[in-house]
């Protein structure tokens, strides 16, 4: 059984390493969507293929808010509710944040800010890092 424990540890390390490599390749293709701006105030629709997100979840998120700008943040390590819970609590402490939601399936965090605020990706990244996850990129949408 000691061997099984050892093998499990090695397996955890190997799978983790393999996934890390796999993700680093996939991110190369997603840099073009980082920190861009897009005004969707006319129809409140979003191009799913462009942002790789769950449009149903996103449309549910924006249906009762307006006059805001939304940071759609790509996050690594957000594999369960517990991981995401801290992110939600952290951003709700920010008085400029109107609403927060998480798309676990696509690894996205939606943060709606009032329009008067300049969204700072470094600040968002720092908050997510302090929560134990890794922010990779961000897209800003305006409603």
């Amino acid at each position: 059984m000691n061997k099984i424990l050892l093998l499990t540890l090695i397996l955890i390390a190997q799978i983790s390493y393999a996934e890390q490599n796999d993700d680093s390749h996939s991110h190369e293709g997603s840099h073009d969507m980082s920190e861009g701006n897009h005004d969707i105030s006319k129809d409140k629709k979003i191009d799913e293929s462009r942002y790789k997100l769950n449009t149903k979840r996103y449309e549910e998120f924006i249906k009762d808010i307006s006059n805001v700008q939304i940071a759609i943040v790509d996050v690594e390590g957000m594999v369960c509710d517990f991981c995401a819970r801290g992110i939600e609590k952290t951003f709700y402490k920010d008085l400029d944040v109107v609403k927060v939601d998480v798309d676990l399936g696509k690894g996205k965090v939606f943060i709606a800010y009032s329009k008067s605020v300049k969204i700072d990706f470094e600040d968002i990244k720092d908050k997510i890092t302090k929560n134990g996850q890794t922010a990779i990129s961000m897209q800003i949408e305006k409603l």
Partner: protein, 205 residues
């Protein structure tokens, strides 16, 4: 809730909600977060409170009822995240943990814990050295699990798990299935082996 196939599972869900707490092997929360854990098995029952100043470590206090050695004591416990690797689809963690009894300096433990999980699969391993006045021993534990469905944020998440554990007192491996549920800030693990219930609850706030 569409996965509920029979009345027994429904009863289990209701029972777990009545208990209204949760389970996880990690006593580290988000920065500034608090964790309450209740754990009970054939050898001991413990109630622990932890505070996490950062996502890297937590400190806490616990009350332990050691059924095997028939003693009760308070533990002061710490856990530190040695290493974490985040990917888009997974997270892997290695922790060190330790505790010192308030009753006697002869009573303490230290060890390591590792886990790797995706939204679909979970595996963890732990190795704990325990020291008591009566006997020193080692506890090893291995868990693997699969999520039968992938819930969205805020849903009830379910894990079907298998746990194998061994301590050097009894010197034999016990392997048994259990179920792990969590939603929001609460988590529950419940399993049954040799007519003993293994229960682990956790709440974060």
């Amino acid at each position: 809730m569409g996965i509920i196939k029979n009345r027994n599972v429904l009863v289990l869900y209701i029972l777990l909600y009545i208990l209204s707490a949760s389970v996880n092997a990690r006593p580290i929360s988000w920065p500034g977060g608090n964790t309450y854990m209740y754990k009970s098995d054939a050898t001991k029952t413990s109630k622990n409170y932890h505070y996490s100043p950062s996502y890297k470590y937590s400190i806490g206090v616990g009350f332990v009822n050691d059924k095997y050695f028939k003693e009760e004591y308070i533990n002061f416990r710490g856990t530190y995240l040695l290493d974490r690797r985040n990917t888009k689809k997974s997270q892997r963690n290695f922790y060190i943990t330790g505790a010192l009894s308030g009753k006697s300096s002869d009573n303490f433990f230290y060890g390591v814990h590792g886990d790797w999980e995706t939204r679909r699969y979970f595996t963890s391993v732990s190795y704990i050295n325990k020291y008591t006045k009566q006997k020193n021993y080692i506890e090893k534990e291995l868990q693997v699990g699969v999520a039968p469905y992938l819930g969205e944020y805020g849903d009830i998440h379910t894990w079907l798990m298998i746990k194998a554990k061994r301590n050097t007192i009894d010197d034999n491996w016990e392997t048994y299935p259990f179920i792990k549920l969590f939603t929001g800030d609460y988590m529950v693990e419940i399993g049954n082996k040799n007519s003993h219930w293994d229960l682990h609850l956790m709440a974060r706030f």
